[in-house]
């Protein structure tokens, strides 16, 4: 039973437009959520995170929104750039040092 779900395997966006990647979770005990970016043949790299006490966290072009009542979070990339093309993983954890539970990932393609 998947606790973290990314229902869109892929997303294609034009350069300069907004990319919205979605993630749903089922475990209400999760209290910290992270997004990782992964290029082919590389390990995942941390992108941005949000604590359950917040509903928004912003870092440059990247913003994560959390809707606890819907158990849903989203990652917004504005404006999208071709270098953003990668697989994005949503992850959740319970407690600051809990083990990360990952979604299956969404492959983002940003076209010039």
């Amino acid at each position: 039973d998947q606790q973290v779900k990314q229902n869109s395997p892929s997303l294609s966006v034009q350069e300069g437009r907004i990319s919205i990647l979605n993630c749903d979770y089922t475990n209400s005990m999760f209290d910290y959520f992270l997004w990782y970016k992964k290029y082919p043949a590389e390990g995942p790299t941390f992108l941005i995170s949000i604590s359950s006490i917040k509903d928004k966290n912003e870092d440059g072009r990247f913003t994560v929104f959390l809707n606890k009542s819907a158990k849903h979070l989203s990652l917004h990339i504005v404006p999208s750039q071709p270098g953003d093309s990668a697989v994005y993983f949503c992850a959740a954890t319970r407690g600051s040092q809990g083990n990360l539970i990952f979604g299956k990932g969404t492959k983002l393609s940003v076209k010039p």
Binding site: A41, S49, T93, Q97, N99, F102, K104
Partner: protein, 112 residues
């Protein structure tokens, strides 16, 4: 800083062979993890360690063993390789008090 270093990057094993995947981190992180990623899937936790001498099972530990004799090293042992262990393996470390994991570049293992 090298961060998290995994060796080898690629390996082909025959069924029944054994091998050790090496993982070293130079950031003095107490927490270390082994994940596997199957095609089209998210990362699943195999084993983790909260410090030297302490290890525990994750979601998919069967067929694997780990040890943590030093803070820096966290090797993963496959004793009797099976085709189901064909996967990409990632090692990660986390600094105490933080949640963001740093990943190695991965080891692509094929069991034939």
């Amino acid at each position: 800083n090298a961060g998290v270093t995994q060796t080898p990057k690629f390996r082909i094993l025959k069924i029944g062979q054994s091998m050790t995947l090496q993982c070293t981190q130079d950031m003095n992180h107490n927490y270390m993890y082994w994940y596997r990623q199957d095609p089209g899937m998210g990362l699943k936790l195999i084993y983790y360690s909260v410090g030297a001498g302490i290890t525990d099972k994750g979601e998919v530990p069967n067929g694997y063993n780990v040890s943590r004799s030093t803070t820096e090293d966290f090797p993963l042992r496959l004793e009797l390789a099976a085709p189901s262990q064909t996967s990409v393996y990632f090692c990660a470390s986390v600094r105490t008090g933080y949640t963001e994991a740093f990943f190695g570049q991965g080891t692509r293992l094929t069991v034939v």
